[in-house]
C-alpha cells in the first residue's frame, strides 16, 4: 500500500467515521434527553410545591420561568434531535430503535397540545400531553434497551432482529413513512392554526384601535 492510499483511507475514514460518530453521538444523547424531558414534565407538582413557599413574587417568578424554559427547551431539543429517525439512509444503515419515529411523533403531539391549549392551566390538557409523552418514551426506551443495546443477549435475539431498524428494514421504513406523514399532518395543523390565530388577534386589535382625535377632523374634511 502506498502513502497516498493510506492518506486516502484516513481522509475517507475521517469523513465517513465523523458522520457516523455524529449520528452515534445524537443516538447516545437521546435517552438522556428523553429521561430529562420526562422527569422535568412529571416533576411539575414538586416544582409547584417549592414555588408556593417563596416569600417574594420575584423569587417565585424566577423559579417558575427557569422551570418552564428548561422543560420546554428540552422537549423541543429532543424532537429536533429525533429528526435522525426520519432520514431513510440513517434508519436503514444504523441500529436505531424501530419505533423511534413513532416516539418522535408522540413527542410532537405533546408539543402541539402545549401550543394549542394552556397546559399549565388546563388539567385535562396536561394529562393529555403527559400521556403522549409517556407513550412516546415507552416506544423509544423499549426497543432501545431490549433490542439495540442487547444484541449480545441470545434470549433477546427476537427483539434484536425485529425491533432494530437496520435488521428489519421493511418494517422500519414503513413505520418511518407513516410517522413522517403524521408529523407532516401535525405540523400543517400547527402552521394553519398559528396563521389563523395571528390573523384573528391582529384583526381584533386593528378594529379595536381608537381613531386618533388629531386626525379625525382632517379625515372628515376630506
Amino acid at each position: 500500500m502506498k502513502p497516498d492510499d493510506i492518506s486516502t483511507a484516513i481522509t475517507q475514514a475521517l469523513i465517513q467515521g465523523g458522520a457516523q460518530w455524529l449520528v452515534a453521538t445524537i443516538v447516545a444523547f437521546l435517552p438522556a434527553l428523553w429521561t430529562m424531558a420526562l422527569i422535568l414534565h412529571l416533576g411539575r407538582p414538586y416544582v409547584l410545591r417549592t414555588l408556593r413557599r417563596c416569600g417574594l413574587r420575584l423569587g417565585a417568578d424566577v423559579w417558575w420561568m427557569s422551570y418552564l424554559l428548561m422543560r420546554d427547551a428540552v422537549l423541543v431539543l429532543t424532537f429536533a434531535l429525533s429528526w435522525i429517525f426520519f432520514e431513510p439512509n440513517i434508519v436503514t444503515g444504523s441500529p436505531l430503535p424501530i419505533t423511534g419515529p413513532l416516539a418522535a411523533l408522540f413527542l410532537l403531539f405533546a408539543l402541539a397540545v402545549k401550543i394549542a391549549r394552556r397546559v399549565d392551566d388546563d388539567v385535562n390538557a396536561y394529562r393529555l400531553s403527559t400521556a403522549a409523552l409517556v407513550i412516546g418514551a415507552t416506544l423509544y426506551y423499549f426497543p432501545l434497551v431490549f433490542a439495540v443495546e442487547a444484541a449480545s443477549q441470545e434470549h433477546l435475539s427476537w427483539f434484536a432482529q425485529n425491533l432494530t431498524s437496520n435488521a428489519n428494514v421493511p418494517l422500519a421504513l414503513g413505520i418511518m413513512w407513516v410517522s413522517l406523514a403524521g408529523v407532516a399532518l401535525v405540523a400543517a395543523w400547527l402552521f394553519f392554526r398559528a396563521l389563523a390565530s395571528a390573523n384573528r388577534s391582529m384583526t381584533r386589535r386593528a378594529t379595536a384601535r381608537p381613531v386618533s382625535p388629531a386626525r379625525e377632523p382632517a379625515a372628515v374634511a376630506q
Binding site: A24, P31, M36, R44, P45, Y46, R127, V145
Partner: protein, 216 residues
C-alpha cells in the same frame, strides 16, 4: 489489505473507541456527581442556618431556590448519566460497578419521594431520602472502589471479589442486575406517571376531587 479495509478499520476504531471513551468519561464523572449530591443533601442544615442570618427576604429566597435547583438537578443528572447501566451490551463490554444500576434506581426513588411527598418539610420523607441516598452511594462506591479501581492491585481471593464487582468480568450477574434495575425503574416510572396524571400536574389533588374519587 485494501484501501477500503483500512478505511473500515479506522472507522470502526473511531466509533468503538469514541463510544467507550464517552461511557468511560460518564463512569468517571459519576463518583463526583454522587459526592456532590451527598454533600448538598447533607448540607441542608448549613444552608438553613445561613438563610436565618439574611436580613433581606430576597437574598434568603434566592439562596434557597439556587440550593434546591442545584441539589435536585444534580440528582436528575445522576439518573440521566446512569442510563448506561440499563444497557446489557454496555455493561458486559465496559468496566462498570456491578450495582451501579441499583444505585441509579435509588436515585430515581429519591426523585419519586420528592414528587409524591414533601421532604423539605416532612421529617419522615427527608429520612427516607437520606437512607436511599446512603444505600445508593454504597451501591455505587463499594464496587467502584473495590472492583473497578482495585482490580489491578488485588491478588488471590481479593482479586476474585474484585472481578466479581466489575460488570465486564462478571457478565452473568451484570446483565441480571441490569434487568432488576430496569424493572425497578419501570415500576417507579409508572407510579410517577400515574401520580402526575392523577393530580393533573397540580401540587396536590383538591380535597373535593379526592372525595369524589374515593366515593367512586
Amino acid at each position: 489489505m485494501s484501501v477500503q479495509d483500512l478505511t473500515n478499520a479506522i472507522i470502526s476504531g473511531i466509533n468503538a473507541g469514541g463510544e467507550q471513551f464517552l461511557e468511560g468519561t460518564l463512569a468517571a464523572m459519576l463518583p463526583v456527581m454522587w459526592l456532590a449530591i451527598l454533600g448538598l443533601h447533607l448540607g441542608r442544615p448549613y444552608i438553613l442556618d445561613m438563610i436565618d442570618r439574611f436580613t433581606l427576604r430576597l437574598g434568603a429566597d434566592l439562596l434557597w431556590l439556587i440550593y434546591v435547583a442545584l441539589r435536585d438537578l444534580l440528582i436528575v443528572s445522576g439518573v440521566v448519566m446512569s442510563f448506561m447501566f440499563f444497557f446489557p451490551d454496555v455493561v458486559i463490554t465496559d468496566q462498570l460497578p456491578l450495582t451501579g444500576g441499583l444505585a441509579a434506581a435509588t436515585l430515581f426513588g429519591v426523585l419519586l419521594i420528592k414528587l409524591m411527598g414533601d421532604p423539605d418539610h416532612d421529617p419522615r420523607a427527608y429520612a427516607a431520602i437520606t437512607y436511599l441516598l446512603g444505600i445508593g452511594a454504597l451501591f455505587y462506591f463499594v464496587p467502584y472502589l473495590l472492583g473497578v479501581q482495585a482490580n489491578a492491585v488485588s491478588a488471590g481471593r481479593t482479586a476474585d471479589i474484585s472481578n466479581f464487582l466489575v460488570t465486564s468480568t462478571n457478565p452473568f450477574w451484570a446483565v441480571g442486575m441490569a434487568y432488576v434495575s430496569i424493572a425497578l425503574l419501570a415500576i417507579m416510572g409508572a407510579v410517577a406517571a400515574g401520580y402526575t396524571i392523577l393530580t393533573g400536574g397540580r401540587a396536590e389533588v383538591p380535597a373535593a376531587e379526592a372525595q369524589a374519587d374515593a366515593a367512586k
